[in-house]
Assembly symmetry: C2
Homo-oligomer: 346 residues x 2
């Protein structure tokens, strides 16, 4: 193991008895170098197993060719899929990605942003933490001229580019679908409405009720929970024990919908015959449980790709352009499955 030092452009310049700047130009395909020397240099580089030192060139050029990603939880299918999309697009454009988890904590999120700034990322794509109420850390980044774009979730009142889905519309569609099945009372397991996406989904529900001329007072019961299997399970058990009546559940993500469905089945209810169940996000699991659960497909990979494209575009043209604040809305899609189709309706 004696390859202590890695080979630099100076090493290959020395070998070729030319200047390192020429080597640099040749390697970067600069037109101001003859095709001949270009070839010689490139061959030599390969022969010597030259591997450019990004650290150095990044320092020199003041750009890291890296974009930072901050998500609440990398293990959630939606986010890992979105990240996958970002990564693909970034690599295509010659960018690396650094990924951070906020664990839905404001402090961690602020810390992550500082780390990313220190690493001199060229831009940040963030889906903010639930608890994010302060926005200082985000504005810090913007003040430093590192662009920070939102994807999926966003914070109201911050002027920047967002890539989101039309949750509100599709939530309304889903609610209308449930109402059309002739339900009497809808139980909603909602997420924290301080988070943009849950807020929009709730608004979509109200839109549907309004459009149908129905009274939300008597026909709707809504509870905010932590949207996971266990909490949804508990919430439903509570409702059942307290004799709360309802004949449909709209849970704002699929894991909660599954938890709800299992709780209902444990309590002897049949889905969909007695009670309908719907979720949101179209996790792979939603179609594998029994009955398969009606949900909303969100184009996670596309969101990631588009967000990546937008920020890379912005980075590469930012010398001239004004700070663009733009909202791209991707369509999500209602997927109706057995959990919301009463047999009588079939």
């Amino acid at each position: 193991m004696e390859n202590k030092k890695s080979v630099t452009i100076h090493d290959i310049a020395k070998e070729l008895k030319i200047d390192s700047s020429t080597v640099s130009r040749a390697l970067n395909n600069n037109p101001r170098v003859s095709a001949k020397t270009k070839k010689i240099v490139q061959d030599k580089a390969k022969e010597m197993h030259y591997q450019p030192n990004n650290l150095a060139s990044n320092l020199r050029t003041q750009k890291s060719n890296t974009i930072g990603i901050i998500v609440p939880h990398i293990t959630k299918y939606f986010f890992s899929t979105a990240i996958s999309g970002i990564e693909e697009e970034a690599h295509k454009a010659g960018y690396n990605v650094i990924i951070c988890q906020s664990k839905d904590s404001e402090e961690l999120e602020a810390k992550n942003i500082n780390t990313l700034i220190s690493s001199r990322v060229d831009g940040i794509l963030i889906s903010p933490a639930i608890k994010t109420s302060k926005i200082d850390h985000i504005e810090t980044a913007m003040k430093r001229n590192v662009p920070i774009f939102f994807f999926d979730r966003y914070i109201k009142g911050i002027e920047t580019t967002k890539v989101i889905t039309d949750d509100r519309t599709t939530s309304k569609e889903l609610t209308l679908h449930l109402l059309e099945q002739g339900i009497q009372k809808l139980g909603v397991l909602a997420g924290d409405t301080k988070v943009s996406i849950y807020d929009n989904r709730v608004k979509g529900i109200y839109d549907a009720f309004k459009e149908s001329g129905l009274n939300t007072e008597s026909k709707l019961i809504l509870q905010q929970i932590k949207l996971d299997v266990d909490d949804a399970h508990d919430a439903i058990n509570n409702w059942v024990q307290n004799k709360v009546t309802f004949d449909a559940i709209f849970a704002m993500n699929d894991m909660a919908a599954i938890g709800a469905q299992i709780a209902l089945q444990e309590n002897g209810y049949k889905v969909p015959d007695d009670i309908l169940v719907a979720g949101f996000s179209n996790e792979p699991i939603a179609k594998l449980v029994s009955p398969p659960i009606t949900t909303v497909h969100q184009p996670a990979a596309e969101i990631g790709k588009l967000a990546a494209k937008k920020i890379i575009n912005y980075i590469q043209e930012s010398d001239t352009s004004i700070l663009a604040s733009e909202t791209a809305v991707l369509k999500s899609e209602l997927i109706i499955r057995a959990s919301t189709e009463k047999k009588s309706t079939t």
Copy 2:
């Protein structure tokens, strides 16, 4: 937006009329600087919103404080959980992580390694692609003195540290459990046995048969498939159509197990009464389908954490130590659920 240039240690040195090297030392808590100036400098730094430029210090110190991760698919629950573990441990130690997906492709994997080397990561944690048969790209990294450790999957014949689970043992346990239920013929949906983990799981099955004195010729049927829901579904349908007999399925991951279970149910078989079904990996979904599926819990987060700890340790002490090649084996755990417990047995 006029904060064009970010503040450097020279800026704060100028303000304080001291030398930038003193500032550097103060910021790094170097003992060779008085507590007084340390405080002055740190206050000033905060006041000026100084944010260190890692690019520069990394170039200078020849370390990036970054570790690279390569996994086949970031969207698989096992890997995203492992990554989450790596990330946590890395951040704790002041390291960033750069994540790459190989998409199970050898070319992409090689490319990823080059990218990571160019980014001068201090070390690489990899779970290699299925198709990886050539090992040049991995040896390239090692030759360059960037440590590259395996986690979960590994490539035989490469001497380096691995963090893996005792798949073989637990696979044997699982098989014994199935045999104890009095089954006549076990159908195995295996992954590509060129991949270490699947190879080990198959070996565990044979271990169990041997220990039970059973004949694998007549009591075992094994097919290699792509381990996902659809392929497993198809495979089972094929077996059923071709009148292959079996009364238990051992699929080498949970998604395949679920696909198999659904196919069986569609064909009118009852699980577990007619046929037992078991999976592997303990994805969250496995306990949510009906019946819940027996599986093997692998400590993904712990694998990630341990791998991170080991490589960071190695990086920080590598000046003195010889290349250590060590294999850490974490225990996985058999989780028995309804899908393999015949009612008569209960």
